[in-house]
Symmetry: C2
Subunit: 199 residues, 2 copies
Amino acid sequence: MDQESEKIQTSPEVQDEILLAALKLFADKGYFNTSLTDIVEAAGIKTTGVLYHHFKNKQLIASVLYENIIDSLNVSIDDIKRRNPKSSDQLRAIVDLLFGLTNEAPNVMRFLLILKIDEFLPEQKPIMETAPFIKIIKIIQAGINAGEIRNIDPKLGYAYFFGIINHTLRMVLAGTLEKNSEVFQSMVWLTAWSTIAKK
Amino acid sequence: MDQESEKIQTSPEVQDEILLAALKLFADKGYFNTSLTDIVEAAGIKTTGVLYHHFKNKQLIASVLYENIIDSLNVSIDDIKRRNPKSSDQLRAIVDLLFGLTNEAPNVMRFLLILKIDEFLPEQKPIMETAPFIKIIKIIQAGINAGEIRNIDPKLGYAYFFGIINHTLRMVLAGTLEKNSEVFQSMVWLTAWSTIAKK
DNA sequence: GTCTATACGCCGATAGAC
DNA sequence: GTCTATCGGCGTATAGAC
């Protein structure tokens, strides 16, 4: 019969509703402009009691969001590394991933690119020190070693390459650049790649 | 004797102390993590009463800071345009200006580059719609017309060029890239320029 | 123009019944 | 696991004496 397990496990969905609502609100208005009652309303739950049953405080909601995003990025990058031997192909795939996210999950990208995360999650690692971004730096380093990428400080290479990519994505997210076709994407990729490519 | 005018005009200095303290704190901890008592202490004044005598609320302090920074940037750009006929030279001078500010007034650059201004100044124009940044777009447009810059959407050109510049400056501000020599600056400039230059 | 005292609201968080 | 009620505190802002 197993009635109990049914009853007990309604929570994960509620958790996701809360996280989704919070993500949208944070991305939209910022962390500090979002109150818990905002989240309660947007999540379609009735009271703050429910919210506090799932998360022990406001920060933790943001923290879980952050970790989820970083983790999912991390597995995507592992996947990309597994499928592509060359640094150039890996970077190209990462660009595709980020453009894809910008279309399909703009709030995730807003959270990552636009929010000043250390302002409300001071104890979390800064983005650049998280696993996926360390891996990206290593990809650039590997590209240098393999002779694909010119010999510069990998962090500077990161600044060049992702300076272009991120700034373009920010403008797409802000609506300043509406384009988001395949050709547009290829064009941006090519420009970014040219800043670090050898020759 | 003129005793009165002496007595009355002690205020502008106090105002500047407040603005300077607020700039530092905002750049450091963010707007929402900075309380008025923080500002009072850092400004070396005694009570919030003094503060409220000079600014009618917290937002206005940030607003005045923002406008001052934008205005000063605006006159610098006018100056640059007056002295340099070619778009490439104008952009190069702007890059020098921004690197200079990053060294000499890092908090100003943090305010501009890192803070999410619309989160606490929702009624202010977004940076990209302010006079100096409109002028920069026009400089790029002029460069395209003159055949110096390849024929792309000026906003995309902005994303390329300042994507690199800004991301580099962010890393310098964050301490991730320590370099800030003339050669370093030239190198970054050259890379940024190459993304939009014709040929 | 400066200070003290204080009001007031909002929001994060808790206690405890059901 | 959900709800009601409410607390406590912080931070902005004001009133009013000096």
